[in-house]
Assembly symmetry: C2
Homo-oligomer: 339 residues x 2
Amino acid sequence: MKYLLMAAAAASLVFPVQAQEPTPIPSPGEIAAAAPAADWIAIAPSDLLVMDLTPDAAGKPRRVVIQLLPAPFSQGWIGNIRKLAAAHWWDGTSVNRVQDNYVAQWGDATEKKPLPDGLATVPEGDYVLPVSQPKMCAGRALAVCQPAANGLTSSDIRFSGAQSRDAYAGAVGFYRGWPVAADMQIQSIRPDAQAAGSTAWPIHCYGAVGVGRNMSPDTGSGAELYAVIGQAPRHLDRNIAVVGRVIVGIEHLASLPRGTGALGFYEEPGERVPIKSIRLATELPVSERPTFEYLSTDSASFARYADARANRRDPFFIRPAGGADICNIPVPVRAVAAK
Amino acid sequence: MKYLLMAAAAASLVFPVQAQEPTPIPSPGEIAAAAPAADWIAIAPSDLLVMDLTPDAAGKPRRVVIQLLPAPFSQGWIGNIRKLAAAHWWDGTSVNRVQDNYVAQWGDATEKKPLPDGLATVPEGDYVLPVSQPKMCAGRALAVCQPAANGLTSSDIRFSGAQSRDAYAGAVGFYRGWPVAADMQIQSIRPDAQAAGSTAWPIHCYGAVGVGRNMSPDTGSGAELYAVIGQAPRHLDRNIAVVGRVIVGIEHLASLPRGTGALGFYEEPGERVPIKSIRLATELPVSERPTFEYLSTDSASFARYADARANRRDPFFIRPAGGADICNIPVPVRAVAAK
């Protein structure tokens, strides 16, 4: 969580601290680390995908853990992904594409492996969700205010001024631990404003996992997945399904050799990186399940953390930015001992 | 330049094109490729640093080419960097730190290698430049309008509405092929608006090269450099000097194994990646000099390119974003045959 750019490792550990100096202002990482236990929320093992690549050249294991998005976002694709994992469909497939500053993508390179029965065909409309405004209900018919079956209300999302100047959306914020965007203006989030037709959607930040697809109206089954390994490709938002994010081991994807073919595909089959297995954590023996918590994005600790990300005042910084891109406010996630 | 997320390479080359279909709307890359020769500007060899890492495990060469920022930005540090390159100071040093989604950093791991004589100590004030507004001169004393010796006028920067919603600055745009930010509001860029005390600065996008430093007031000599290999760390803007950008070979840095020490430093000396040499291109034999051009950010072609980055309408996309982060509008650079 530290971001100092020091001359070298040795020097970086020797801070010039004077006896009279006030307590240094905590860094964002220190704020998160100091958050009370009540601010941390357990991630259900049913929301974790564990991907084991074959070991690297030195024999070191390469495990990537992916957290799936919570309902109501992207549930059609996520349902398919659970079925694919349960069928062990990805075992023996591979990472086939690594494009610098963009994505690492995996799936069946042959495109001939039969998919499990019962996968849903998800419509493009599911890239976004309707957002209603419950506080507008006073004096109106309930139906006007009631969220759609798979919808959200704007009060479900924590919008923040710190990251309100977003090039891609009228508003951005956090929904149950996830960065999301909405097409309403930040002003219209006020209870007294109009939000007819507003929608919200999950966004592509570093580490986001999405569903590869062919040309529209195809939306992808979920068998072909990618993880973002560069600048947030937000132009993909609403054009392709985000289904989760890598919470451990993104470096095993981000440090792979780049493919030299078109779009970063590996040109030689031997360059592909074999996937040993992908499992829902619920399928692993309890003793082997990775367990994680995320910092509640509704907590005061998170609000302080986000403010500190937008206004770095810890010792290395001389000028706080006064704002932060939503993708530069990664939601803290930590491994915990299994309970 | 293509960004499609197709099911696989083979499928991606088989577009369902119908006979009656209108000509597809060009992608940003296609717009840049079609720009007339007059819109491309040669990069002077004196502005290119050529870094050769030792070959990779398979014996393949790893060359990284860095373009230095044009005057008047960061010239104190860049003067030092030219001296360090001329002294062959980096030869035999190494990449010592690779932190995922952040930076790859190189220099002298021992911190004991003497620096060449005559390096400047650059003040923190040089992280930004004053910006004056020449069109406000009418009816005023010339001194009010004249830019400082190392200053800019706001008309030197091409501001654009497409990327105006920036979390870190009042305005962002392009200066002679480089993304820059300014602390004036976009409205104040109008000739009739006030801009007293406005400043501009180069920004940290993917591939940006900056100067490692110790705690303030140190600003770094330029001997310790890093390249951004993840989400644009814009909170470093105005806190640390940006001096250039990688235009070729960023993958040789971005795909290096991540360091497992604090801040991504390599823990074992054997993990460091040796630097064979860093040279200004002017020091290479003419026949070996890499030659490049960038697409003029003042050209109509670039304006169309930037608009297309903000509103993807090429066939894969179903919904244009209506905006783009400044770091998602990379300035096109191309290799050309030496003249």
